[in-house]
Amino acid sequence: MLVFQNKIGKGYVLASTYLCIAVTLLIFLILFWNSYPALSTVGFDLFTMTWNPAKDQFGVLSMLFGTLAVTAIALLIAVPLGILTAIFTSEILPNRYRLYVKSAIELLAGIPSIIYGLIGIALVSPWIATLFELSSGRTLVTAGILLAVMILPTIITLTDDALHNIPQQYRETSKGLGLYPFEIIQKTLVPIAKRNIAGAVLLALGRALGETMAVMLLVGSIDKIPEPFYNLLSPGQTITSKLGREVGESAFGSLHFSALNAIGFLLLLLVITLTIGTQVYMRKGIRTV
């Protein structure tokens, strides 16, 4: 009986593994299949500025720029803030409060992104507009700030886990050698958790790249690179916001639709590379600790 169950269990696990792999491959294949018309006709003109489906112009540079800019802003805000918060929850906050704070943070992670978008429109965007005297508060920076808030819980929980899982004896040994509490964090704990923290950041990066709803509502949705390019308080466009807006209005089978698939393919490549990179990196991290 047990052997039988074991076989079923094994089969089940194997089947679901193969299913996952198959689905991933299928997604890749379909995207590529649908991108092919655009890729073959437009070719390297994909990497130009102008996007005008009426004239069969499909330049994605401004969206690529927007995606990278928004993600960079989000990371710039969320990474230091997240790591410092995690150090606080894991190392400074008494343990009996830690779980409450952690559940609150994890609750944040569960809020649908459209809600963040609404709050962005109601609160952050007007605030940015007044603060910098802009006609519209929907800018790359606005989207970046919102995105930062959205990825913060991921960074905090994973970094907190990474720190908290370090055996107590490392702290005690360091204390016994005469290190001050902040030196224990800085010299002992962070170096040990380094790889796992990097993993947390990469995971958050993946989420930031793929986030659509909130970004679409807040980024301004104009296909251009600001001038000068570092003036990020201007509206822009990301790959996801572009897709979110235009997929519905493009005719299936048209070159326009194919071009949208192509930028989707680009995004997928970016995210998958990151995910695999993260996993390889994390696995090494587990080995050294």
Binding site: P167, Q169, Y170, T173, G176, L177, G178, P191
Partner: protein, 270 residues
């Protein structure tokens, strides 16, 4: 009390044994639990001072009161006095970092950082002062020689410390503690995670180290205490039951509890 201690320390040269750490009326509470009960005892300089007693009797707590590593634990309350270097380190201003540099600690299971052997050795001392590359080398060589690890690792100092065997790791930990130039070594069951052969290596090491350091050793192992201790302190249920020199303690124990503990490691104490 204070002047008495000072005189004793000053006069230590004439006396047969010099007191390194003097503990007077030490009480430790965790919340409502009274863990150490009015302990008064002296640890002698350049001796192996051995604390034995059943599990839960407060041996570790006593040891950990000496470098105040329990500080910050919730609901901890400590009263009494611990004199070291003519100063009461429990009361009055104490620089804890300096205290822990002077009173080093070695734990039960070796805790090697995921760094190179050399970086492990200098990890503690590096936080106390800036070191040049050659000083780092010198300290590493000197302390690794002191723990007899040098021949085994001299040409792989850049390798990860965690690649060493457990016994080597424990010696590395001792070297790391020695590098901060302590006067006292607190060792909490330093051989309990080691095999008998490695245990002997560490015991021989302690015999040599006591010429330069005061060693306070906690052990579960009565045979080990008999082998290497100079002074023995028998604790039970947070009290000091009996103490004396190795010879006195093991050959002519006075208290019934001590006799029964030495016979079959049982102890009834209230």
């Amino acid at each position: 009390m204070e002047t008495n201690t000072a005189r004793k320390i000053n006069a230590g040269i004439e006396e047969e044994a010099e007191v390194s750490i003097k503990i007077s009326n030490l009480n430790v509470f965790f919340g409502v639990n009274h863990i150490l009960k009015d302990l008064s005892l002296d640890f002698q300089k350049n001796k192996v001072n051995c604390i034995i007693g059943p599990s839960g009797s407060g041996k570790s707590t006593l040891l950990r009161s000496i470098n105040r590593i329990n500080d910050g634990t919730e609901k901890l309350k400590v009263t009494g006095a611990v004199h070291f270097n003519e100063k009461d380190i429990l009361n009055g201003v104490t620089n804890l970092t300096q205290l822990r540099k002077d009173i080093g600690m070695v734990f039960q299971s070796p805790c090697v950082f995921p760094k190179s052997i050399l970086e492990n050795v200098i990890f503690g001392i590096q936080q106390h002062k800036k070191l040049t590359v050659s000083e780092k080398q010198d300290i590493t060589e000197e302390t690794l020689k002191a723990v007899s690890l040098w021949p085994e690792v001299m040409d792989r100092l850049k390798d990860s410390g965690q690649s060493l065997s457990i016994g080597q790791q424990q010696r590395l930990c001792i070297a790391r503690t020695l590098a901060t130039a302590p006067k006292v070594l607190l060792m909490d069951e330093p051989t309990s995670s080691l095999d008998p052969v490695t245990t002997r290596v560490i015991e021989n090491l302690m015999e040599r180290l006591k010429k330069r350091y005061t060693i306070v050793l906690v052990t579960h192992n009565i045979a080990q205490a008999k082998r290497i201790s100079d002074q023995v302190f028998f604790m039970c249920n947070g009290q000091l039951i009996e103490s004396g020199t190795n010879d006195m303690f093991f050959n002519t124990p006075k208290k019934e509890q001590t006799k029964s503990y030495l016979k079959d490691e049982t102890c009834v104490c209230r």
